[in-house]
Symmetry: C2
Subunit: 295 residues, 2 copies
């Protein structure tokens, strides 16, 4: 008897699921940040901590670690040699190191054809049709990630300064932002100068809150983002597809604002990314009949 | 007998003009960077070096430095205590420390009413009517400086990545940018991650070059910038005004692309910013009749 392992790791934390060969989850463990882009050693440490915790949760001795077959979905795994370097340092029998997007896709749409847009601080499009998986978008908030939280927040600060200069109309939202920065535009400039993507993202809730009460600036910012998201969908999601899920913290917030042609294809995600990792472990390591083709 | 001094200082260098009490320029000196935002001591050192060089150029002994009345137009002088701190450290009899924008305005429009837009790496609007001077825009390229070179370059990289993903149409310009980054979008992301405003600005020439041959992406990027510039002018430039000058490295490039209603108000700048500093020195320190009101 041996076990399967699914890992879902990113900047905010790492989760591990220990499963039997049918994909039934036996135990789940959690740990800290596992971003192989920013700190490979810490990522490896937290992956092993979460794995140990999953063994403990399942009541199974962790001495089985060497016989595990694992699928790891990790932020930054698709960049350079990150996946290969991590894989070489892991104690598992088998390991498939994928981007976090691929396990999110599998979790959300299962073995169906379909498309997901992961809308968090950034944004990423993934479509699967048969054994073909296509990625688009991402690229970081400076010159990409359209529709993501960092871009929304940055856009709101720009609109607020334009309203301050009376170049564009103010609204209750831009006035609320000015108050947040003590009515001093230089405070906005200072904040923006030092802001991380997450810092810009802290402005997202106020945008959706004011959009809910029809604030003109909030609605305009969101409409631009929705047009950009749908421009991506028009490209990546074939007209035949009937399954679209918006994932990430902003996914549910955008759903009701999509155009009718995409609203009608929206489906709740079937499962989360961790379940997706376990499914991919079954498909790759336990199933005789299906071999998952990854890009 | 005493002398007047005009100083034009910014990140790329410092110029000093020694003049008589009528504003006739007797000698000009140059030195290095004088940005009081980034390095106050270096700025002060280069201001004095340029002043010494102006004395030398005029063949006048620099022992007169303590009797000078000076107007200094300096990048960053309008932020916090920069102007007051610099002034306290200068050996001149009188000194008026202004933003670089104000001496550029005076140089360009003289004592007339009018509006200037300074379009370099950033962008800044200044309008004067009678004794009232109004500033708008600026704020840095992260959440402002619309129409400036950093914003143009950043926009081009974003469009190039959108074309790479086939979210938006490619053009010869986006293909040329891809080639510049070895057809690897990750190279664009890396560049953008580390880019200074000036780095983004290095993409400006290619935009205007391709716009000149009607490249659709180049034209679209410039049209957005022009709409933003004119939105600013619609706000800051009163309909009565008949004098508009576009300054900075990008000013002449934008001129022929303005709408007719602003084209007809375009006037070549009367003088440069250094001459503007000398004029303001005459107005403030030598003229009995006129007192220049600054903001």
């Amino acid at each position: 008897m041996t076990y399967l392992l699914g890992i879902d790791g990113g900047g905010t934390g790492c989760r591990a699921a220990l499963a039997d060969l049918n994909g039934r989850i036996l135990g789940i463990g959690k740990s800290g940040s596992a971003n192989v882009m920013t700190d490979m050693d810490m990522a490896r440490g937290n992956i092993m901590d979460a794995t140990d915790a999953a063994f403990a949760s399942a009541g199974i001795d962790k001495s089985h670690v060497g016989s595990l077959s694992a699928v790891l979905g990790l932020a930054g795994a698709n960049v350079g040699d990150n996946a290969a370097n991590l894989k070489a340092s892991l104690p598992f029998k088998d390991a498939l190191v994928l981007s976090d997007g691929l396990i999110a896709l599998q979790g959300a749409i299962g073995n169906n054809d379909g498309t997901v847009v992961i809308l968090g601080t950034g944004s990423l499009f993934i479509a699967r049709e048969g054994d073909k998986v296509q990625f688009a978008g991402g690229w970081g908030f400076k010159v990409g990630d359209l529709g993501g939280g960092a871009r929304l927040g940055r856009h709101l600060l720009e609109e607020t300064l334009l309203a301050y200069d009376r170049f564009r109309p103010a609204s209750e939202l831009t006035q609320a932002v000015m108050q947040r920065y003590e009515n001093n535009p230089h405070n906005i400039v200072r904040f923006a100068h030092a802001a991380t993507p997450s810092d810009f993202g802290t402005l997202v809730p106020i945008i959706f809150d004011y959009a809910a009460v029809e604030d003109a600036v909030a609605l305009a910012i969101l409409q631009i983002a929705i047009d950009q998201i749908e421009q991506g969908l028009d490209t990546i999601m074939s007209a035949r597809q009937t399954r679209l899920s918006l994932l990430g913290g902003l996914g549910p917030l955008y759903e009701k604002r999509l155009s009718a042609r995409y609203q009608e294809k929206l489906q709740k995600p079937l499962n989360d990314a961790l379940a997706g990792a376990v499914q991919l472990a079954v498909l790759n390591f336990a199933s005789k009949s299906a071999e998952y083709i990854h890009v």
